[in-house]
Amino acid sequence: MLSVKNLIDTNSLTADDITQILDTAKSFDPIVNNRVIKKVPALRGRTIVNLFLEPSTRTKSSFELAEKRLSADSLSMGGSTSSVVKGESLADTIQTIDAMNVDMFVCRARLAGTPQRISENTDAVVINAGDGKHQHPTQAILDLYTIREEFGHLDGLKVAIVGDLAHSRVCGSLTPALKTMGAEVVLVGPPTFQVDDPSWFGCPQTADFDSVIEDVDVVYMLRVQLERMEGAAIPSRREYNRLYGLDERREQMMKPGAVVCHPGPMNRGMEINTEVADSARSRILKQVNAGVLTRMAEMYLLLGGENNGISA
């Protein structure tokens, strides 16, 4: 059992919680990756609503696949097709769906705090699938899984998180999760993208990528949200690539055995160059595979708490 009822952020998770999720995910690996019948009846009869109020392809399909592999019944609703666009308030939408007696909400939203609001309006379990600039906890867990598979452990590893630190919910979730598991984190980004609080989770922050790259086990490249370029936070694509992009020159500076991660979708030629994204160091596709396993584990553990009246 996890110590939390909902998965809203990674700050609330203990090292025990995270280890339990990663171990459970590992036991789903042979089922999903080696078997002809890639599903188990663990969540048979449970109903899960995927409420995606912001566009998402990979997170949404990863959740949908995880739900199918656990035999849950699921329903996906998007922002443009829901009554939210007709002016219904979020609380009303949630209470309406809740009245249909669902067991879990998986929510992606543009506004930070939306999953928290949902959890206050329902008895169902809530999983945050990314809310604004706040958090994206299931991304952080799949990253930890990928890294632990690579090195066998998380404690003592050095991880550089590079890019738009201040606006990234991936960074917001991954940093506390890595710290909880005993890893060291160094944040790299242009001054306009650095976090305001220099003591944030006790992580050193720098604008000099080259000064840290030889020293780390994992280089975690954040996606540059191109929509932000209009605000002139970044002068140009080429300059960003030269100063903060992961190119072949920097890839060759990395330690032997060090790996590259990216949450996707990638802007090739901007934060990461094609030669590196497709290199032997890249674990980007492993991350995608880990996404299904870890989301299965999160849903299984969060819904495995009390009697729901199912019996065979």
Binding site: V40, P41, L303, N308
Partner: protein, 193 residues
């Protein structure tokens, strides 16, 4: 105060004799051991399947194929208990067309075996599935029976029948415990059924 079992119904020697007899019965029923695969249900069933494989090899000079089955995700009571500790299923052979002998420690309601059959069928289509258990304690809730039984033990619902096997445990015995005594003690010890 140290907890005491109500009774010890099998010791190491009698469990060994039961395994030898079951090994003979499996070979006789399947006309040899070449086509047999033993699949132990985690955790005590896994240990018993391994011991049974040793017995069969000693008698017939052929070691049967050996696999383990984790039924955590197939249980019908997952949502009533805390999420179980997970072990991985390992079936290193093709299950299609195989003669499977499922091995478990205690046969009680039959729900564990039901879950194991469901799990097994998701790996393929065996030619047949037989069931071997160390103890049959009755009280079936499903139409399931064992093909090979170490010992039939009449028991009440107020009792637990537990199988302990070295080296996982500190002794090799089958014991009956009072459930009333169990309250407040840890639930992990022994193959509680």
């Amino acid at each position: 105060m140290a907890q005491q079992p109500k009774a010890t119904i099998m010791d190491k020697a009698s469990m060994g004799r039961a395994l030898t007899r079951i090994a003979h019965e499996i070979i006789e029923r399947n006309e040899g051991s070449t086509d047999i695969a033993l699949v132990g249900i985690i955790r005590r069933g896994e240990v018993l399947a391994c011991l049974l494989a040793n017995e069969i090899e000693a008698i017939d000079k052929v070691r049967p194929k050996l696999g383990t089955l984790d039924i955590s995700f197939y249980r019908d009571d997952v949502t009533r208990t805390i999420a179980p500790v997970l072990h991985a299923t390992n079936i290193p052979f093709d299950i299609n067309g195989a003669n499977i002998v499922l091995v478990d420690d205690v046969l009680y309601t039959g729900r564990t075996v039901r879950a194991a059959l469901d799990a097994l069928m998701d790996y393929g289509r065996p030619r047949c599935v037989q069931l071997a258990v160390m103890v049959d304690r009755g009280h079936r809730e499903l139409p399931i029976r064992a093909d090979y039984v170490g010992k039939n033990v009449p028991s009440s619902h107020e009792e637990d029948v537990r199988v302990y096997i070295e080296p996982d445990d500190d002794r090799t015995t089958v014991e009956i415990w009072d459930v009333a005594q169990e309250q407040g003690a840890t639930k992990e010890a022994g193959g509680v059924q």
